[in-house]
């Protein structure tokens, strides 16, 4: 709570009292000064000698609240190819945006006009580049304007958020970014602050905005006065931090300068947040002008925190930082930023480890999740590329898909941090898929880079789709950015004072409170723990004698930061030791002990499960051929003669072929043609004509010797029947010949002998009294058309057919 500091004069700017996000002078509503901007001013930082520019539709340089800080050298008109960035005026005032953003950064203080800018002594300019055709050239020119003079570029625009677009900086704009990062600010890198994806429409996902997904831009999102998610905000794994903005009913707005020398409270969205952070960074650059572009990102991540922001997905990453897709690492803290900036030591050089590309094609069935993992040593074998401590993680993905909007993509880091790289977009029915699109997450910031990275691709159709048209993950690769050494002493003060001050102990676990309190005491007294460390700490440092106070573990670390972590020499049951991460990881739920995470890595099983040695899995029911041995909870093999057995090896229930079950034992069966008598055990012959049987009776015959007739075995088939060979049966089956036929061949189609009163014609029986008197002509017709071969027709002219022979 930053109350009105009696010896800090208030401002006479008319809208100062409305600036609830700066101070708490309005006593009857909740104090929302957690961005601590005033506290930073009280430390003497107001952005002096820092130059900021707004990439937008222009800036009203003669606005009374801007004119004093306006800097022509930080301005340019790309649309008009001249030095004057004054916006084009029209009836709709459509080009008001740049002027509104500029006021947030550097509106003068105490000039009885409008508001007070966050860096009210910084110099402010504008690059007019949105008021006309925006092309790759235009963007490159804007981004690359005067990099040795301008320190901070603020942009509150991006690709269309129609929920269908996937777009980002073109080749030239990318080159301009890279050049700005390498050479800008005399090699310390231009600072690009970007408004996180949102254009005022819903159903989009900001990972399709290539600007906020760039590692070179500081992507900033927004929260409302009460810490709620503004209706327009998109989740984004690349968002670094958040500021207040407007965008919820019944909650207070942001005020700023407006076109035509006016003021407004109508500026909203993440358009508000980017300039705010630009202003806050200006304070930090005043505190430490030597900060590099990566230092600034480290500082923002270190000092931002959840405060009272409400997000369903707050999680703690692998190094204990709270992060969310809505708010990144949380609300910015200007005071903490300038304090840390003042003593900041430049982080080690950035290393880039480009992982090998996974080119195996995976089909993505609808309503299914494809999970593919890659294990990386984070280029440990390449000195200049080795990454130990992560910063940005980029995943370059190529996916073919019939309807791109149905896709959702997650990335899970070796420490288990899950980033949603892409959410589904209901309006995106493009069939273009993604071609080498680069998704970026900052959620793993500070974690160890080496280990197993898992990519999850889910296909969740919004509408019924042709099931045969499936997506394909064609290729994906990891690009890890970070450092080989820890970001040095900045890490030690990781739990910075402002963080602890801000996190009310009431909602922290007691252990954590105690932990922080001991930390606080330690810090305030600035004493290092010099006593002996626990053996499990190995030669690593510690800040206490017990195993949960090691800085790192010699063998394994067990537990989580939330539940408490300690170093152990071996992992408890239900866990296995991950030798790469030196961490105890959970076994599959059925395993009592295991060698890995999968269900086929069990070595012993939990109660109710049995270990199947052939698959190293723990199963509730042993497979055929095995029985559940209770004592050791193992599946043991049955007797070789048994196909199935229970309780004991030779307690058979089903025998293998050639064996017969006798009192739970499988004894050699009798040869064919005999059947088994159990008492005393002996073999007897089957009935005659019976190839196999189970007993002496007619019905006990299971296979006939020669023929089977009406399920009886007979030596030969009787009159009107023929013996038909049935595939798969060793004997023949008697079947009836055609009507009126008393004897037929083995095919049953050709009659050999007819009943009385029928004559045999070409294998068929014809009644004797039919077709004697057919006239010649008709027969000639039959004969000339050779119709006799047609069985149905030859009856019309039997005699002709007879003649035809």
């Amino acid at each position: 709570r930053v109350r009105r500091n009696p010896n800090f004069a208030s401002f006479n700017d008319p809208l100062w009292p409305e600036m609830w996000y700066m101070h708490c002078e309005d006593n009857d509503s909740e104090c929302r000064s957690e961005m601590n901007i005033m506290a930073a001013w009280q430390r003497g930082y107001t952005g002096k000698d820092v130059v900021v520019t707004i990439l937008d539709d222009g800036i009203e340089k003669n606005h009374p609240d801007l004119v004093q800080n306006y800097d022509p050298r930080a301005s340019y008109d790309v649309n008009g190819h001249d030095e004057d960035p004054t916006p084009r005026y029209d009836a709709s005032n459509e080009n008001k945006h740049g002027t509104r953003c500029a006021g947030e950064v550097a509106a003068s203080a105490n000039n009885s006009n409008c508001i007070v800018g966050i860096a009210y002594n910084a110099r402010i300019g504008g690059i007019r580049m949105l008021d006309g055709d925006v092309t790759d050239i235009v963007e490159a020119k804007a981004i690359g304007t005067k990099p040795d003079y301008i320190h901070i570029y603020s942009a509150s625009w991006g690709p269309d958020d129609d929920g269908r677009t996937v777009d980002g900086p073109g080749r030239l704009a990318k080159e301009a970014f890279e050049k700005g990062i390498k050479e800008g600010r005399k090699g310390r890198g231009s600072i690009y602050v970007w408004a996180s994806g949102n254009g005022g429409r819903e159903g989009d996902h900001c990972s399709c905005d290539g600007y906020t997904n760039s590692i070179y831009t500081i992507s900033i999102s927004s929260t409302t006065e009460n810490g709620n998610k503004p209706w327009y905000l998109e989740e984004c794994a690349s968002t670094i931090a958040t500021t207040y903005s407007s965008g919820a009913f019944y909650e207070r707005q942001i005020v700023t300068t407006d076109l035509r020398k006016r003021c407004t409270d109508g500026h909203t969205g993440t358009s508000v947040s980017a300039p705010m952070v630009a202003g806050i960074i200006a304070l930090a650059l005043e505190a430490n002008p030597l900060l590099t572009w990566r230092d600034v990102q480290h500082l923002l991540i270190k000092t931002s925190r959840p405060a009272h922001l409400l997000a369903p997905d707050w999680k703690t990453n692998g190094v204990g930082r709270r992060v969310s897709h809505l708010y990144g690492f949380g609300l910015v803290d200007a005071e903490a930023l300038v304090v840390e900036a003042k003593k900041w030591q430049t982080v080690p050089a950035q290393h880039i480890c480009v992982g090998t590309s996974n080119k195996k094609t995976w089909v993505i069935p609808a309503n299914k999740t494809v999970r593919t993992a890659t294990v990386t040593n984070a280029c440990a074998d390449q000195l200049d590329h080795h990454v130990s401590y992560l910063e940005h993680v980029v995943v370059r993905v190529s996916i073919a898909h019939p309807r791109r909007g149905d896709l959702q993509i997650n990335l899970i880091s070796p420490s288990g941090t899950k980033s949603q790289l892409l959410g589904r977009r209901q309006h995106d029915d493009s069939s273009e898929g993604f071609k080498h699109w680069e998704f970026m997450t900052v959620h793993c910031w500070g974690e160890k880079a080496s280990g197993e990275w898992t990519l999850e691709v889910q296909d969740k159709p919004y509408h019924v789709r042709n099931p045969e048209m499936q997506g394909k993950l064609k290729e994906w690769s990891l690009i890890l950015y970070g450092t080989v050494e820890p970001p040095s002493s900045n890490v030690n003060s990781q739990h910075s004072r402002s963080r602890m001050m801000e996190m009310p102990s009431s909602d922290m676990e007691p252990s954590k409170v105690a932990f922080f309190q001991t930390q606080m005491e330690m810090q305030e007294e600035e004493e290092e723990y010099t006593g002996p460390c626990h053996t499990e700490c190995g030669d690593q440092e510690c800040d206490g004698p017990s195993a949960d106070q090691c800085l790192n573990c010699f063998h394994y670390s067990f537990g989580s930061l939330k539940a408490g972590r300690k170093c152990v020499s071996s992992c408890p049951s239900g866990y296995f030791g991950d030798s790469v991460q030196r961490k105890c990881r959970r076994c599959h739920r059925s395993c009592e002990t295991c060698l890995g995470r999968s269900q086929n890595s069990c070595t012993t099983c939990k109660h109710g499960f049995y270990h199947h040695q052939e698959t190293n899995a723990c199963v509730m029911l042993c497979p055929a051929g095995f029985y559940a041995e209770m004592g050791q909870r193992r599946c043991q093999k049955c007797h070789p003669n048994c196909k199935k057995c229970i309780w004991e090896m030779d307690r058979c229930t089903v025998c293998k072929d050639g064996f017969s079950l006798v009192d739970n034992s499988c004894v050699m069966g009798c040869k064919a043609g005999m059947y088994l008598i159990k008492e005393p055990v002996r073999c007897e012959n089957c009935r005659s004509n019976c190839r196999t049987c189970t007993g002496p009776g007619r019905e006990d015959c299971t296979q006939c010797g020669r023929n089977s007739h009406d399920w009886k075995c007979v030596p030969s088939c009787g009159e009107n029947y023929y013996a038909d060979a049935v595939p798969g049966l060793p004997y023949k089956v008697c079947r009836r010949c055609e009507n009126n036929c008393t004897s037929c061949d083995s095919s049953g189609k050709k009659c050999l002998q007819c009943k009385e009163g029928f004559s045999l014609f070409s294998g068929s029986c014809v009644a004797n009294d039919r077709c004697r008197n057919t006239d010649d002509l008709f027969c000639e017709l039959v004969k000339s058309n050779k119709l006799c071969e047609r069985k149905i027709l030859f009856q019309f002219c039997c005699r002709t057919c007879l003649l035809a022979g």
């Binding site: 937008d56 539709d57 190819h81 945006h97 949105l130 055709d133 925006v134 092309t135 790759d136 050239i137 963007e139 490159a140 020119k141 804007a142 981004i143 690359g144 304007t145 990099p147 509150s156 625009w157 991006g158 690709p159 269309d160 958020d161 129609d162 269908r164 677009t165 996937v166 777009d167 073109g170 080749r171 030239l172 080159e175 301009a176 050049k179 050479e183 408004a195 996180s196 994806g197 949102n198 254009g199 005022g200 969205g269 993440t270 358009s271 980017a274 995106d428 493009s430 273009e432």
Partner: protein, 88 residues
């Protein structure tokens, strides 16, 4: 093109030229373009304008001026598309 909507081409080109500003000037004159100078601080990249090409078109430009693409001094060339940008 973003979001599947058709690309809109302009009568501006980004050209990467080896040989510096003078070479860029020569190329522009030779193929009927107006050289608007280097693109920001991107060395070797120049901004050409072709007044005889229609200002906005859903078709990329055709015509002899496209021979510029084949000139040995041209390392890369891109006809500029209009990018849809919205304010946040």
């Amino acid at each position: 093109s973003p979001g599947g909507s058709r690309a809109v081409y302009t009568n501006h080109w980004a050209v990467r030229v080896s040989g510096g500003a003078a070479e860029a000037e020569r190329l522009a004159a030779h193929y009927g373009y107006l050289n608007l100078g280097q693109i920001g601080n991107l060395e070797d990249y120049y901004h050409f304008h072709h007044s005889k090409t229609i200002k906005r078109s859903t078709f990329s430009s055709r015509g002899p001026h496209n021979f510029l693409r084949m000139d040995p001094k041209v390392r890369w060339l891109q006809q500029q598309e209009v990018k849809r940008r919205v304010k946040r």
